[in-house]
Structures are given as structure tokens and as C-alpha cells.
């Protein structure tokens, strides 16, 4: 039972990172992006490839490379699409997610194709071994990341950069005519969100000891969006609450072994239903957006 609670705690932490990244992109900056799963995949595969290579890198270097790869791909997709107005990003990010998955499936030389990469070794943090077999240590490890990133995001929200992102979300035309380089801000926000998701991918890969392309499909991106919308766009704590609800709904039956009884497609129906019901009855989400406290 303890083990199950720890397991849910770990998944909660990993999904929370994805939700926090999505909240920065969608909640704070107002960009509808549908490819958190792809950024997560990039982080996961980067981790897998590095750790299974002949000379695996130490944890600190791994983190740097994962963050770099995440933001690099964030920039790659962000630069061409974020200059455009409207919902081009949603379409482009959707396509990007599919491309990443297909590349992972077919570039078997690097990614192992549909079989993925297995036997990913554990990592060492100082003298502590971070391994999936010691769940309590891994839980603390995961939530350490969540804590640091949450702190960083709060700081960002209170900074001028955060204020600029909010202005862009509120009215991009006005923001640009007041001298804000909106494309730059949007791309940077997008890169940060992507990097956070890549970190989630890293944690996922180390915990599972293997990665396969199927883990990172479109439904995962939708699930993450669902978490953020459920909690309340633009509110980081709400994103955590939303994540908790969704993780419990979607993981619990599986972890308790009921998954044989409940068809896998139920999740998809459920997420769709949650989004629709929220949009009708509570578009601001369960917790809503916090009133700005920046000036006080």
C-alpha cells in the first residue's frame, strides 16, 4: 500500500512538471500548444541515449543537456509559428508531436524503433543512488524538481518578464504597440515550458528504466492540457490540483489492477467530457486565476 502511494506520488510529480510547463505556455502566455508529450519524449530519449551510452554522464551534466535539448526543440517549433497570429501554434504543435513520435518509431538506429530503449541505468546524486527500486528516494528526487521549478515559475510570474507575458496574453496587439517584442517573449516562454517538460521526460525515463514511443502520444498532451484547464489556467497551484485529480482518476484503476475491467478508452472519453463540462460551467477552472499581488 505504501508502495502504491509512493508510486502515485512519483507519477503525480512527473505529471505536475508537465502541467507547470503547459501552464506557463497556455495559462500565462495564452498560447495553445498541444505537444507537451513531444517535449517530454525528447527529454526521455535524450536521457535514455546518454545513460545507455558507453560513458554515461553524471546527473548534473545530464540535466543541463536535457534542458538544452528541450529548449532547443521549443525554439525550433516556436520560432516559425509564434510569429504568426491566431491558432497556428495549436496546429503546428499538434503536427510536431506526431513528427517526433514517428521519428522515434522509425529512427531505430538511435531510438530502438517501436521497441524503444531498455535497461536505462540509475543515476547517482552525490553518494545517493537514485533508482526506481527505492521509491521514497525517487519521490523526494522528483518533488525536488517540482519544488525548484515551482519556485522559479513564481519568481518569473512576479518579474517583469512575467508581467510582459501576461500583457501579451491579455492583448498582443496593444503589447506590441507599446514596444514589447512579443515574438521574443513568446518564444522564450515556449522554450522554458518545453525545457520543463523535457525534465519530466528525464525523470520518467530514469524511473521506468525504459522508453517506448507509444508513451508519448497525443493523448498525453491532451491529458496535460486537461490538468491545467481543470485546475485553472494561469494558476500554478491550480495546475497541481488539476494534476492530482487527473492522476488519481486515470492512474488509480490501473495501479489497483482494475484496468482489465475498465477499457483504456475511458480516459479519452473522460478527458473530453471534463474539458467540455468545464468550458460550459466553470471556464476559469476549479481554482481560477489568482488576483495579481505583484505590487503589494
Amino acid at each position: 500500500m505504501i508502495s502504491l502511494v509512493l508510486l502515485i506520488g512519483i507519477y503525480f510529480g512527473i505529471y505536475a512538471l508537465l502541467a507547470l510547463g503547459q501552464n506557463l505556455i497556455t495559462g500565462m502566455t495564452g498560447l495553445l500548444s498541444l505537444c507537451q508529450a513531444a517535449f517530454m519524449a525528447i527529454g526521455a530519449y535524450t536521457t535514455a541515449i546518454i545513460l545507455t551510452s558507453h560513458h554515461p554522464l553524471p546527473l548534473a551534466e545530464l540535466i543541463v543537456i536535457v534542458v538544452f535539448m528541450g529548449s532547443l526543440f521549443g525554439a525550433m517549433i516556436g520560432l516559425p509559428t509564434l510569429r504568426l497570429k491566431g491558432d497556428y501554434l495549436a496546429i503546428a504543435s499538434l503536427g510536431f508531436g506526431e513528427i517526433v513520435k514517428n521519428v522515434l518509431l522509425n529512427a531505430d538506429k538511435f531510438t530502438g524503433g517501436p521497441m524503444g530503449i531498455t535497461h536505462i541505468p540509475s543515476v547517482q546524486l552525490g553518494r545517493i543512488l537514485i533508482s526506481p527500486y527505492d521509491k521514497s528516494v525517487y519521490l523526494i528526487f522528483v518533488w525536488g524538481f517540482v519544488g525548484v521549478i515551482l519556485w522559479g515559475l513564481f519568481r518569473l510570474q512576479r518579474s517583469r518578464f512575467g508581467r510582459a507575458l501576461e500583457a501579451i496574453r491579455e492583448d498582443e496587439v496593444a503589447a506590441s504597440s507599446l514596444g514589447l517584442n512579443t515574438t521574443l517573449y513568446k518564444v522564450v516562454a515556449f522554450m522554458i515550458g518545453a525545457a520543463i517538460s523535457a525534465l519530466a521526460g528525464m525523470l520518467w525515463a530514469i524511473y521506468n528504466g525504459s522508453v517506448i514511443p507509444q508513451s508519448f502520444d497525443f493523448m498525453l498532451s491532451i491529458m496535460v492540457l486537461c490538468m491545467v484547464v481543470l485546475g485553472g489556467l494561469g494558476n500554478y497551484f491550480a495546475a497541481l490540483v488539476g494534476t492530482m485529480v487527473i492522476v488519481i482518476i486515470s492512474e488509480l484503476p490501473r495501479l489497483l489492477g482494475f484496468s482489465v475491467l475498465i477499457p483504456a478508452q475511458l480516459d479519452q472519453i473522460l478527458f473530453g467530457l471534463i474539458l467540455v463540462i468545464l468550458m460550459i460551467y466553470r471556464p476559469e477552472g476549479l481554482l481560477g486565476r489568482p488576483v495579481s499581488k505583484r505590487n503589494s
Binding site: D171, V173, A175, G179, L180, N181, S296
Partner: protein, 255 residues
Amino acid sequence: MTTLLSTQGLSRSFGGIVAVNDLNLQINKGIITGLIGPNGAGKTTSFNCITGLDSPTGGRVFFNDRDITGFSPPRINRLGIARTFQNLRLFRDMTVFENVMVARHHTSSFSTLLSLLRINDEEKKIQIAAGHWLERLGLWTHRDERAQDLPYGLQKRLELARAMATEPTLLFLDEPAAGLNRTETEQLMTTLRDFRDEGLSIVIIEHDMHLIMNVCEQITVLNFGQMIGQGTPKQVRTNPLVIEAYLGKDDHATR
């Protein structure tokens, strides 16, 4: 009088509709210029083409003798051109103070990114400058209210404060008096005259003829995307082409 901004053959067409047609505007330094004309004459479209929100299909825009055609809105703003919008474009969910503070970000785009990494005194400077403009336009006591909670008249004033906070040398106002009552309009006129006396050049689109005739030194009249008259309020009022545009063709039409 020196020319601050001019357009040469500025044109903008949407498909077959020519909204602005071969327009040669001249905006002089240090005065208030009125841009009037019937609805659909191309006034706002010209504003948009000049401030970079729209790209002209032909012609060029010069600011201080520099060709600024096709510059992005932030770049144009940094050169010293600010504007307000016909339909308010406030950051509705942000406070009054924040709305104006955003307008000070341009002073330090790069340091705004750096603000993530460290605390610097830039923020203090921004608050002081924003506070100055709020006080100036009588919004200081409302600074912590959400922009959308302000009454309409104050929202319009907030948009003006926000534009002024970017410290422009040339200010474009798109119907600043629309929706204001008589007292508010008089207040606005006083404010605009003050700004002008401090050296700001202003261009106003407005249908309120009382305002136009009383604060503008120079008026340009557009119809069907073309300039049909230009001059002092008195000259414009007696220009037969202008009268025709507003009142229709009639030999006996006088004002």
C-alpha cells in the same frame, strides 16, 4: 514648421476595396493635427499602416526623414510613436498600475529577460515612471484596481496614460473622445493642449467636431481613402469639397 512624419503615396487595399489611396500626409512637429472624414474614409487604416499594425500595399512612411515603412510595431514605438485604439485595448485582467508599467518595459527589453535571474533597480525606475503618468492623468488612486473594473471614461484615460508612458514624440489617438461626456471631453482637451505645450506632437482621429475644431491647429480631411482637404480649422470648415463629403452635393449647402 518642420515635418515630423509624412507618407508618400500610402495605399492599402483589401482585395478590391481600396481603403487608403495614394495618401500624402504631412504631420508637423509640435502641433495637434486632426484627421477627419466620414466613416470608412480610411483614417484608422492609415493609422495602422503608420504604426506598423498593418502593412501598406504601396507607398512609404517617413518619420524624422527616416523610412520606417514595414517596421514592426515595437520598433516603431521605440522610435517615439505611440498610439491608442478606437476600441479600448487594455490589459483587462491586470491592475491599472501594471497596465502602465508594461509600457515602460521597452526601456529595457534585454534586462526584462534578465529580471528572471536577479533583482535590479530597473523595477523601481519603472514604478516611478508609471506612477508619474498615473498621477498626471488622475489615476493614481485607482492604481490597484483591475483595468476592466474602471468606468469607461477612466479606461480611456488609462489607455492614454499607457501610451504616454512609452514617452513618445508623436502620439496617435484613435477617437479619444468617443463615449466621453462633455466634462470628460473638456478635460481631455485640456490634457492634450498641455501635452502639446510640452512639445508632444499629436494626431487625432475624431468625430467630435467640437474637439477637433478647438484643439487642432491643422486638419486633414479624408474621403474614400484620399485626402480631400487640408488646412486650419477655418479653412477646412469652408472648403467646398469637405462640405460636400459631409453633407452631400448641394449647391445651397452652407454651414
